[in-house]
C-alpha cells in the first residue's frame, strides 16, 4: 500500500553503504520506521534535505505486519536549519523528538503531528537565551497532546480541589499534585511552588509562562524527566533529555 502523508524526520541512522533508517512522525500513520535506500548517494528521489527535523511530504510503501516501511520519495518543504544554529535549540529539539518516539506508536494522530511541528518551529525561532524554556513549554504541550498531562488543579488521588496559590507536592506515580491529606499518606514526590505549578498549568493548556532563574529551568527539566521516566516504565534512559539537561551551550 502506498501512503502519501506529511512527515517529519525524528531520527536518522546510516544503514549499510548508502541507505538510512529514519524514524518519521507522520500525520496519517503515526511514528514509523522507514528505510530510505540510496539516500546517502542518490539525490534523485530525496534531494539533499532528508535531514533531522525536516518536514515535507513522504511516500511510503507500507506492508502490513512489517516493522520497516520503504520510503520511495520525500519532498522537503520545511527544513529547520535554525535548530543547528544554537546548541540549546538543538538539544531541546532532540529531547522533543525522543519524547515523541518513546511515547507514540503507529496510530494516526493529526493533532499531535501539528503540535510537534509547531513546537519545533517555536524552538527554531527561540532566542538562544530562551531556547531551554521554549523547549520545556513544548515538551509539556506534547505531553498534553498525548493525553497524559498531569493533574494540577485537583488532587490526583482524591480529586479534592487545590488552592492555586499554595505549594503542592507533585507525585509522579499518582500523575500530578496531591492535597495535604494525601501527601501525608503517600511519601515521595517533589514540592512544587505556586509559580511552578501555574507555569505547568499554562504550558499544558497551550499557554505561556516565564521562568526566572536558570535553576528554575533545571528544576523543571528534572521534574519532566522524572515524570516521563515514571510513566514510560521501560527502564531505558532518556539520552536526549540527559544531554538537554546538561546544557551543551555551556560546554
Amino acid at each position: 500500500m502506498l501512503l502519501s502523508t506529511d512527515a517529519l524526520v525524528l531520527h536518522s541512522m546510516n544503514y549499510l553503504e548508502s541507505s538510512r533508517i529514519l524514524r518519521l512522525a507522520t500525520r496519517e500513520g503515526g511514528v514509523r520506521s522507514v528505510i530510505a535506500k540510496g539516500v546517502r548517494t542518490s539525490r534523485k528521489r530525496f534531494g539533499n534535505a532528508v535531514d533531522l527535523f525536516a518536514q515535507g511530504t513522504a511516500q511510503l510503501y507500507v506492508k502490513p505486519g512489517r516493522d520497516l516501511d520503504t520510503l520511495s520519495a520525500f519532498d522537503v518543504s520545511h527544513p529547520r536549519p535554525g535548530l543547528a544554529l544554537d546548541l540549546d535549540r538543538f538539544s531541546g529539539a532532540s529531547a522533543i523528538a525522543e519524547l515523541v518516539m518513546r511515547c507514540t506508536r503507529d496510530a494516526s494522530d493529526a493533532s499531535l503531528f501539528d503540535e510537534l511541528s509547531q513546537v519545533l518551529d517555536d524552538i527554531a525561532g527561540a532566542e538562544p537565551h530562551d531556547a531551554g524554556r521554549v523547549a520545556l513549554r513544548g515538551a509539556w504541550r506534547i505531553v498534553a497532546a498525548l493525553g497524559v498531562a498531569p493533574s494540577l488543579e485537583v488532587c490526583s488521588e482524591c480529586h479534592a480541589p487545590l488552592e492555586p496559590d499554595e505549594p503542592a507536592r507533585f507525585h509522579h506515580a499518582s500523575g500530578g499534585v496531591l492535597c495535604v491529606r494525601c501527601a501525608r499518606r503517600i511519601p515521595g514526590g517533589r514540592l512544587l511552588p505556586p509559580a511552578a505549578r501555574a507555569a505547568l498549568r499554562a504550558w499544558t493548556e497551550g499557554g505561556d509562562a516565564p521562568i526566572g532563574e536558570p535553576a528554575e529551568l533545571r528544576a523543571h527539566q528534572r521534574l519532566l524527566r522524572e515524570f516521563l521516566a515514571e510513566h514510560l516504565a521501560d527502564g531505558r534512559p532518556l539520552k536526549a533529555f540527559e544531554a538537554w539537561e546538561k546544557g551543551w551551550s555551556a560546554a
Binding site: 534531494g47 539533499n48 535531514d51 529531547a95 525522543e98
Partner: protein
Amino acid sequence: MSAIEELASELARLPGIGRKTALRLTYHLLKQSPEQARRLANSLLTLSDRVRPCTRCFNLTEEELCVICRDPRRDPRLLCVVEEASDIGAIERAGEYRGVYHVLGGRLSPLDGVGPDDLTLSALLERVREGGVQEVIMATNPSLEGEATALLVQRQLAGLPVSVTRIARGLPVGGDLEYADGVTIAQALSARRAM
C-alpha cells in the same frame, strides 16, 4: 551454531553485506584452498593488531603518527576537522588541500547519546593551544548534527588566536539547477560570493 552460520553472521555485520551475500561469500571461501582462507584470517588479525588512531590527529595509522602528520610538506597552519577518518580520504582524493587534519570520532547526537565528551575535542583544543595553527576548517557533514558539532567546536575555540571557517555548501559541479532541491538552492544563494 555451525561454523558456516557463525562466519555468515559475522560477515553480515559488515556494511553493504546482507544475509544472502554473507552466505554466498561463506560458500565461496569454502571452495577456496585452506591456505587462502588462512591468508584472509591472518590479514584480518594483522589489521586489528596494527591499525590504531594517530596520536596527534586520530587518523588511522600503523605508526604512532599517520602518514599525513609525518609528511613535512603538509602545512601545519591549516587544520581541517572531520567527523570520521574515512572523510580524510574523500578530501585527499580532491587533491586540493595541503594542510593537516583532526578526526573528531563522530558528531553530536543527543538521541544516540553522543555528547562533547565522546569526541576528541580536548585533543583538538590542546593542538590549537600548542600554537602553529592559524585556521581551523570545519568539514563536518552538512547535516543538522554536523552543523551543531561545528558550532560546538567554534564555541570551544573562541578566545584562541585562530580563525575558524566552515566548508561551503551548494550546488554540485556538473549538476542542473533545474533539478536541484529547494534547500540546496537556498543554501547556494545565501553562500554566494563576489565574482
